[in-house]
Symmetry: C2
Subunit: 419 residues, 2 copies
């Protein structure tokens, strides 16, 4: 299997100003076509550190190296210069790209004459290392480039995500990456509602008895645990192992591989032609945001109400101030009323609600931070579920509680339809 290294350059990446989502995206793309990454690195805009990293990659005979960042028009864009010095290759102007840029700037600056500062600016962006081939930029202005250096194919790309992704998808993968034969399958079983150690205990015997034929990875997240199974030899069946695992933990499994809970819920409801409305309190729109991440979600979601104040709960959801005074806004009674009334008000099949205390403030001894009630209404049945997160982080609690609400829809609808 060919080896790949990713080198993302930029002070903003090592200082924590910018999260390196480009490299993460590239890993996912290469995983799809069965290439594995040997190393992914962030380094600052430093001539010396760029040289050290490039030297490491060439010495280790990495097959493909993706270098990105520092190709723009501004003064701290030093990547080309650093490569030119280390590889001892002069920088020259790429005429085709210069013409392309000049036209682009003339068009957007209303046929202004390109002289002085603007001209120098454009020339800088059209620079390429001698012997390198240019990579077309369909989106922005920076010039990508590639060359074979000894055993290593080098790609030099802009750090702007849209340009970076387009160059890789439109040019690099079709030109240089034939898919590796995917002879041995990999499967990820996605679960929620069970802890890592409990899950491990349930399937430990399966792991131990298949150790020569399958590799298991157990990957916990805040909102669930994934089990990744990699087949190691031919002549065995991953489906058989999958069935063994599901036999132990199937009730916690919501999907496989790229499945996300929100998409699973969307498919479930749109298959059954059911409509949904949501009354959110503490999650403040997060559940609705997740559902509407999905193109076509208007098929199932009529709308949502974010009842952040008790006034709105009272006036629109008809949860009276008396009831709130008696049971508290965070209670099963209120969650159930919210679910029933949103479904009625918005004329939908399902009504989902959530009320809780995300923190950091607002908790008490009886109702601590992390306490949630999720309400559910469907075909005359009203139901609510209480849960308590032990984490005191507002953002994490909102994530966990919104996923728990989606999971409740999945479980209850499957239950109703006898699945």
């Amino acid at each position: 299997m060919k080896s790949v290294s990713i080198v993302a350059i930029g002070d903003e990446l090592v200082n924590g100003f910018t999260l390196d989502t480009n490299s993460h995206w590239l890993k996912q793309e290469l995983q799809k076509i069965n290439f594995n990454i040997k190393k992914s690195v962030n380094i600052p805009d430093s001539n010396k550190l760029i040289a050290i990293e490039l030297k490491n990659c060439l010495e280790e005979n990495i097959d493909f190296v993706f270098i990105s960042g520092g190709l723009g028009p501004t003064h701290d864009d030093i990547t080309k210069k650093a490569l030119s010095e280390y590889l001892n290759l002069p920088i020259e102007i790429n005429d085709k790209h210069l013409k392309f840029l000049s036209k682009k700037f003339r068009d957007s600056y209303n046929k202004v004459k390109i002289t002085g500062k603007l001209k120098r600016n454009i020339e800088t962006q059209a620079e390429i290392l001698n012997s390198f081939t240019s990579i077309p930029n369909n989106i922005g202005t920076a010039l990508g480039m590639t060359s074979q250096i000894n055993n290593t194919r080098l790609f030099v790309l802009p750090g702007v995500p849209a340009e970076y992704k387009d160059m890789i998808k439109s040019y690099i993968i079709p030109t240089f990456f034939k898919s590796e034969p995917k002879s041995l399958p990999i499967l990820t079983i996605k679960t929620t509602g069970i802890t890592e150690s409990r899950l491990f205990n349930l399937i430990e015997d399966i792991i131990n008895t298949t150790t020569n034929t399958f590799k298991f990875s157990i990957l916990p997240h805040f909102t669930g645990v994934n089990v990744r199974i990699t087949q190691l030899t031919k002549d065995v069946s991953i489906n058989k192992v999958k069935a063994m695992v599901l036999n132990k933990v199937g009730m916690y499994c919501y999907g496989y591989d790229d499945d996300e809970l929100k998409n699973v819920v969307y498919s479930l409801l749109s298959d059954k032609q059911l409509t949904l409305s949501i009354a959110e309190s503490c999650t403040g729109g997060l559940i609705s945001k997740k559902i509407t991440d999905i193109p076509g979600s208007s098929k199932i979601l009529e709308g949502s109400l974010i009842a952040y104040s008790n006034n709105i709960k009272a006036s629109i959801l008809k949860v009276s101030n008396d009831i709130i005074a008696k049971h508290g806004a965070v209670s099963s009674v209120v969650a159930e009323m919210m679910a029933e009334n949103i479904a009625q008000h918005f004329k939908t099949d399902l009504g989902i609600s959530i009320t809780g205390i995300s923190g950091p403030d607002g908790g008490s001894i009886n109702k601590p931070v992390g306490l949630y009630y999720i309400g559910y209404y469907f075909k005359g049945e009203t139901y609510s579920k209480k849960f308590l997160s032990k984490i005191k982080d507002r953002e994490i609690n909102r994530k966990i509680s919104s996923e728990t609400a989606l999971n409740l829809i999945r479980i209850k609808i499957n239950e109703y339809y006898g699945k």
Copy 2:
């Protein structure tokens, strides 16, 4: 200045299954106390690659190396073994941690006897390298450890984010990281509504005339451009340069350093004791989610309506089907009605609305994907703003349009109060 490297280990990190947010968080923490990262690396669970990376760090005399991941109880947790082999140090059991774990398991498993599989499991987690010092784990079960190897201080940490962060905050930073003297200031000016190249043109002269005393970095994102100014010498004033930059681009500046637009809007409204309601269509809850990310946001946000279908726009926001038929749901007329009516219905000072086409479907020649109208109502004034994103990505368009809505609140409220 001391040098720091971050080495995060895990197949899931290089395969793109998990985004390495730990390293990003650590970079931010170290930046706060003025330490800079020389390198941040992701490598797979591989004995050989762990050894190569450790060798590089020791040879380059890095002062502090943070190694994380692969300390858990499962079979693919090989970090300790790899370090033991490379450093030629035997693995032994840490008695104190073993006692702590045994008690923890007895307590949570209802005083069960610890034998067999469970006993071996616990012993594995209590293992430490000879000559290393343990790092207490206040949250989970894995044992962290540290040692000085030649010129390098090595920290070995679990990859679980809560445990990783707690060990660094509670133990490592107080014990080993005295804040570096922050003699020279850094300032980030945050802008939105202006492109990178336009901004660069406006401040290029300032950059060129201060090149010996200040370093400028221009950092574009989808929703704005940051200008980071690093002071390079004593005896100059960063405030003077700040004023020069603001003189050119102040109208686009919404804040500094860690400021986020949502917090700026929150402070603006809570200072003036103004309440807000939001009617979202295409953004499906994202604007409300951003506002409610902020603890205490109930002070300003009464609630929101996500009118994802035209039915809800008609029945609750009183935007009749006739008006939608005449002007289209994505129009200035509808945006303005939504803003007015949500403010009236929810009894708030401000009403904000958004209607648009996020894509990938739903566009037409006259109303393409990326077209948005934002509506605004405050003290009798109704206003709307049209904008067109050239990007065809649903997620990015939703991000950009929600930030544009927040920015509109900022501009209009500042305008009203004569700022």
